[in-house]
């Protein structure tokens, strides 16, 4: 059932609007040279930070489709009746969401880096940092989606919740402190299924 759930969610993500957060990511990255000007040195210095801000804002876009449709349609209830714990469901949803978000974001980081004049070793470090950070972004997105599922104005609430929680990732990721970023990413990814599972349980009233 877990494998089937991951496949189903990944299929729904990819046939849905998986390109939307990626397009948004590229658009934000493209805004930076317009805002800063064409000074290559300056761009290269702020580049990694700008890519991270673009990634964080792009991570907000899919939140509303991650949990709420399945809650409203009774899928979460039926999964529980089929003996799948809420925590297992959210773990599967994190895995599926990462599959439709992480690899695409890493591919999109190449053109984003070109726009910001990041190349060579700096590009390799940036890609590695994104690779380490995306599981945590996917986990945070699912946890926040579960916490806000069914609430009015869930989209804006989700932004207010996710962005502060992602600040440690942003700091270590943009500062190239990959070990610390890895530790934060691990913590968020490991904790999120439990937070999201508890939120789903609490929503059954």
């Amino acid at each position: 059932m877990i494998g089937a759930l991951i496949l189903r969610d990944a299929r729904r993500g990819l046939t849905g609007a998986a390109w939307l957060p990626i397009a948004f990511f590229l658009l934000v990255a493209a805004l930076v040279p317009f805002a800063i000007g064409p000074d290559a040195q300056l761009l290269a210095r702020i580049g990694p930070g700008a890519v991270w801000i673009a990634a964080l804002t792009a991570a907000l876009l899919p939140i509303e489709r991650l949990i709420e449709p399945d809650r409203a349609d009774g899928v979460l209830d039926q999964l529980l009746l089929h003996g799948v714990a809420d925590e297992t469901v959210t773990l599967a949803k994190i895995a599926a969401h990462w599959l439709t978000f992480g690899p695409l974001l890493i591919v999109a980081a190449f053109p984003a880096a070109a726009l910001l004049d990041i190349g060579g070793a700096a590009l390799a470090r940036l890609l590695l940092a994104i690779l380490i950070g995306t599981p945590a972004l996917a986990a945070l997105a699912v946890a926040v989606a579960a916490l806000t599922a069914g609430l009015p104005r869930a989209g804006s609430m989700a932004g207010l919740l996710l962005l502060p929680l992602a600040v440690p990732l942003l700091i270590f990721g943009a500062a190239d402190a990959l070990l610390l970023e890895g530790a934060v990413s691990l913590l968020l990814t490991a904790g999120a299924p439990f937070v999201a599972g508890a939120a789903i349980r609490a929503s059954r009233t």
Partner: protein, 182 residues
């Protein structure tokens, strides 16, 4: 006869309102029980409590393997009906029994509300669970659908299953009644 569902002195509160208290009953193999009562008396909540989706304020609920059909369709609307049901369990025989066999390749989003009701009933019938919880099973069903549902329920009872249904309508066959008041 094995007990498939047991309520012991159960009280349920929702949104600060006490829906019922001191409720005790048993449902054994081969038995069917209909929960009746006016709108808002807590029929659906009783089923969700029996399913373990709600928690009792007091008392104990013991349950065996069960399946629930309610208003939530829980089928992916972009898939064909056969594939959408397949996600939960192999549905061919249940689809046949409920008159859905010819709709296997139709996307779920194109089905009528009566056909969706049959689909949720088919999911329950295909689940292999011994206890069926049916919330308003006749809603949106036509005469043919109600008859087919009656046949499926009969066969499930003969095979040693049990059914708990919530409905204010008359269901086919002989049902024990449990009346909830307001």
């Amino acid at each position: 006869m094995k007990v498939l569902l047991r309520f012991e002195d159960v009280a349920l509160r929702r949104g600060g309102r006490l829906l019922f208290e001191g409720l005790s009953f048993e449902l054994r193999e081969g038995e069917r029980l209909q929960v009746t009562g006016p709108n808002g008396s807590g029929k659906s909540s009783l089923l969700r409590l029996a399913a373990g989706l709600l928690r009792a304020e007091r008392g104990r609920v013991e349950r065996s393997s069960l399946a629930l059909s309610d208003d939530a369709v829980a089928l992916d609307s972009e898939l064909e009906l056969g594939r959408a049901l397949q996600f939960w369990s192999a549905p061919e025989k249940a689809m046949e029994a409920l008159g859905l066999a010819h709709l296997g390749l139709v996307p779920v989003r194109l089905l009528s509300s009566g056909q969706l009701k049959r689909a949720t009933l088919a999911r329950v019938a295909a689940s292999g669970a011994s206890l069926w919880l049916l919330d308003e099973p006749l809603n949106a069903l036509d005469a043919d659908g109600a008859m087919k549902l009656g046949g499926v329920v009969e066969r499930h009872l003969e095979a040693g299953g049990a059914v708990l249904a919530a409905s204010h309508q008359k269901l086919g066959g002989e049902w024990r009644k449990l009346e909830l008041g307001l």
